[in-house]
């Protein structure tokens, strides 16, 4: 491990070796503004020296909050250069979550993107005893804000330039003090149970994982990546911050969250990492536009799409593609596949990953058949975000891929996936008990996921290990497995399955307001709100059919027998799901206890009182009588 560099050393290397190459771009005022590695280095140095002038010391913690912005990445690197720890937080966190993380991590400095984020911190200031300095990037709207501990990033950089003139060699000396075993990053897990835990990741963890990824995947110096996923997510820290420093390619920050689609198309990144939701949205976009196209255009699209799908199925089965079909594909590449890839901004994409949750096989096949090298990746925060991925020739919608070189995987008790390697974290900050629970003395980390290794050597993830239970008749019950089958329907956004120690499986379903909304419009079903839409008899029938279809792919005992449609989507603000959209099962079971009772007591309606947390933290309650539906024509008998 001694020959590994700390992250700041990569920065020094890049500034010397790639001085004039583009390091990071930001779309601002409608133009992609480029910063070279020289400029990247200088900004990081000035911010670091400015922070030092304001009393930032080794071991201090700095949080960034906001959308992906070069200056927020620089601030993180600046803190790391000074021997500090970066603690990125989710920009859409509500006040309570934010206060918890900032206090637990003992954050001394927060760098906020704009007034919106500054206001959040200002409102919490009295509850944040460790916070000494609040820095903002965009001064807009804050002319009247006067606090001694509030400064603009520009001011900090100016202070840094002056401090640097007075203390030559300071920056270099701080970097020289850094060791690869120092903690560089706290990645807070948006845990599905209890409070978030801060996973401590060292330079060695981050750099080793970066090396693993470089060895397993084709990553080049002249790549362009788009940074649009939350900065607090380990994936963004690894792929944007660390890989950017290690490889030296160009990271691109979109103009605003609303412009990501257009920016993606303009940029045409070399590689794309996206959760299933984004792939599904892209597919829906293509389908809607194809359906809106007229006559011949639509027929051409459909014909070539079917040809591509047939060929993809043959390829996946390892069978040869007949000559006629190959000719159709060549023609289709010119008329359909190429243009569609171009529209999506994936024309230059050499590889693309989906991860975090399963992606429907149909969606997966669509992208692959259109010539996009979409593959699955699997990782978790505590192993620096990377365990396994699918090599180019082995893409498959059902597996999590082959363990990466240098990462050991074995299956433990109850089918739990265990991982060992240089990426395994140092422990949870201030929580040794929790650390001991998940890391064995010999280094094996318990992922908490249940899975198995298939004959090809691919890891397959079934569910969270602790959620796997048994139905009353003793057959295994894996809720997430069932939910995913339901969520493959475009009309179902979220599903929660119940069945542990129960006679049959029942599910609460949240519809997707966009797809169901346009379905309703096409049929002339008038509705006013999500609530109203979800309780329309036509919509309930639609979802019943979708669940029947999902049931066909499930073993008899695992099939969903009864369901109800929620009057609101599950929401992270209500603590029902995590920020990464994982269901917080235990909490949901408590909150919706009357619903579960009604499922198994054979009642046809239930009084649903759901508390709602608004964006400003206020609480409200929605009351409604909701119908429970039977999936089968004849009701089940208990």
């Amino acid at each position: 491990m001694a020959d590994r560099l700390t992250l700041p050393r990569y920065l020094l290397r890049n500034a010397a070796q790639y001085a004039g190459r583009p390091a990071i771009r930001e779309k601002d005022r409608g133009i992609w503004q480029t910063f070279t590695w020289r400029q990247y280095h200088d900004h990081v140095r000035d911010i670091a020296l400015g922070l030092a002038a304001l009393g930032f010391k080794r071991g201090d913690k700095l949080s960034v909050i906001g959308d992906n912005r070069p200056r927020l990445y620089w601030s993180q690197v600046a803190a790391i250069c000074l021997g500090g720890v970066s603690v990125p937080v989710y920009q859409d966190s509500i006040a309570k979550e934010l206060a918890y993380v900032l206090n637990h991590a003992e954050v001394a400095v927060v760098v906020a993107e704009d007034q919106e984020q500054v206001d959040k911190i200002l409102a919490l200031k009295d509850t944040l005893p460790t916070l000494r300095l609040l820095v903002y990037e965009d001064p807009r709207g804050m002319l009247q804000y006067r606090f001694p501990w509030l400064r603009s990033l520009e001011e900090v950089e100016e202070l840094g330039r002056r401090f640097g003139a007075e203390h030559p060699g300071y920056f270099q000396a701080e970097i020289d003090q850094g060791r690869v075993d120092d903690v560089a990053l706290f990645a807070y897990t948006s845990g599905t149970t209890g409070s978030p835990k801060g996973a401590m990741l060292t330079h060695a963890n981050l750099v080793a994982t970066g090396e693993t990824l470089s060895a397993a995947e084709d990553i080049r110096l002249d790549d362009d990546w788009l940074a649009y996923l939350p900065m607090a997510w380990i994936g963004d820290s690894l792929y944007t911050l660390v890989m950017n420093l290690m490889v030296g390619f160009t990271v691109n920050c979109p103009e605003s969250p609303e412009t990501v689609q257009r920016d993606l198309r303009e940029l045409g990144p070399s590689a794309v990492l996206a959760p299933p939701r984004i792939w599904e949205n892209m597919l829906t976009g293509v389908q809607v536009r194809a359906a809106d196209a007229h006559g011949i255009k639509r027929r051409v699209f459909e014909r070539f799409r079917d040809a591509a799908e047939r060929a993809e199925i043959l390829r996946a089965e390892g069978k040869p593609v007949p000559l006629g079909l190959r000719l159709a594909l060549a023609l289709g590449e010119f008329f359909v596949y190429g243009p569609v890839r171009d529209q999506l901004g994936l024309r230059r994409t050499r590889w693309a990953y989906t991860g975090g949750a399963p992606l429907g096989p149909d969606t997966f096949r669509f992208f692959r058949s259109f010539g996009i090298n979409l593959k699955q990746i699997y990782g978790s925060t505590e192993v620096t975000g990377l365990v396994s991925l699918q090599p180019d020739a082995e893409a498959n919608p059902t597996t999590a891929g082959r363990p990466c070189p240098g990462v050991e995987v074995k299956i433990g008790d109850k089918g739990e996936v265990l991982v060992r390697g240089a990426g395994v974290f140092k422990g949870y900050f201030k929580n040794d008990d929790a650390t001991r629970e998940v890391v064995e003395a010999d280094g094996w980390f318990h992922t908490g996921d249940a899975g198995f290794v298939d004959p090809r050597g691919h890891l397959v993830i079934i569910d969270r290990a602790k959620d796997v239970g048994a139905l009353a008749d003793g057959s295994a019950f894996a809720p997430q497995f069932i939910e995913n089958k339901l969520k493959f329907s475009p009309y179902i956004r979220e599903a929660v399955a119940f069945g542990d120690a129960k006679p049959f499986v029942a599910a609460m379903v949240a519809i997707d307001p966009n797809t169901v909304g346009s379905w309703a419009e096409r049929r002339g079903v008038a509705y006013t709100s999500y609530h109203d839409l979800s309780q329309k008899p036509e919509v309930r029938a639609l979802v019943r059919d979708e669940i029947r279809r999902g049931n066909e792919t499930l073993p008899e005992a695992q099939q969903v027998r009864r369901f109800l449609l929620l009057t609101k989507d599950l929401d992270a603000d209500d603590a029902e799901i995590t920020r990464t959209r994982k269901v917080r099962r235990r909490y949901v079971a408590e909150k919706y206890a009357p619903v579960i009772d009604a499922f198994y007591a054979r009642r046809d309606t239930v009084e649903l009182a759901t508390s709602v947390t608004y964006e400003d933290g206020r609480q409200g309650t929605l009351r409604a009588t909701v119908h429970i539906e039977d999936v089968a024509e004849t009701p089940v008998h208990v």
């Binding site: 005022r29 807009r140 709207g141 605003s256 609303e258």
Partner: protein, 263 residues
């Protein structure tokens, strides 16, 4: 010090209807002044006179020392007065970007021929103006709408684009005629924020007509109240709120508060 905008006893009638009667109002540079009053009180007429759309029958309007009572609207725009309209007045078929660029028209010097050739000076000028328009797009957070035709936007966003079009003029005085009319709560909050930011950061003088009392009382430096074409009160929000004449104009005599019409 004399005010940036002085309105001296202006009156205007349409046929037999006396819309505005001897209204005087001084607006200092950098002030945010709201004009409120029940429907038909003469607020929009007053604004129309300032922007040169109507000319007062009697009285004078003095802008930065120059009498503009009878100046043409184009002349007043050149002097730095921009406005938005109660009913949105954008080019619906044109994109947001084109509508904003059009707002820069006053500042463009290239002639038809130069613009047609689009070379040299015309090109340079376009770049300068585009930069200013991009600042406004950034300011109003409408980066994702640049290429959208205005007609396809939600009402609240059209209101925002219209504000942008007025800002593109780089106005000294900005006249806003019900910028929040028909907007939902969130859109109102956003708009109030933008108006305050324009006032604070760019020092733009703003005259605002608005029905939402909460917003008016929150953001105004000063409030003038019109009723039946006559100014009945003028002062800080707190003063105006306490004025019995204002309460009477809004609530009528001895009517229950539930029949209040202020929305």
């Amino acid at each position: 010090m004399s005010a940036l905008l002085e309105i001296r006893e202006v009156s205007k009638s349409f046929g037999g209807v006396q819309a505005v009667t001897k209204v005087s109002l001084d607006v200092q540079g950098g002030e945010l002044v709201s004009v409120i009053g029940p429907n038909g009180a003469g607020k929009t007429t007053l604004l129309n006179m300032i922007s040169g759309f109507y000319h007062p029958d009697r009285g004078h309007i003095v802008l930065a020392g120059a009498d503009v009572s009878h100046a043409a609207p184009s002349r007043i725009a050149e002097l730095g007065v921009a406005r938005t309209f109660q009913n949105i007045a954008l080019f619906r078929g044109m994109t947001v970007l084109d509508n904003l660029m059009l707002g820069r028209h006053v500042h463009m010097k290239t002639g038809v021929l130069g613009a047609f050739v689009y070379w040299g000076l015309a090109q340079k000028e376009e770049v300068v103006h585009r930069r200013r328009v991009e600042d406004i797009i950034d300011f109003l957070r409408i980066q994702d709408l640049r290429r959208r035709p205005c007609g396809s936007l939600a009402y609240g966003l059209q209101k925002r684009v219209e504000l942008g079009r007025a800002l593109a003029l780089d106005p000294k005085v900005l006249l806003l005629d019900e910028p929040m009319g028909g907007c939902n709560h969130e859109e109102k909050e956003d708009m109030a924020r933008f108006i305050l930011d324009v006032n604070e950061e760019w020092g733009t003088t703003i005259i605002l007509i608005e029905h939402d009392m909460g917003v008016v009382m929150d953001i105004s430096d000063r409030v003038a109240v019109l009723d039946m074409g006559i100014k009945i009160s003028d002062g800080t929000p707190a003063e105006v709120r306490a004025n019995p004449q204002v309460i009477k104009a809004y609530l009528g005599d001895a009517k229950p508060a539930t029949e209040r019409r202020d929305g």
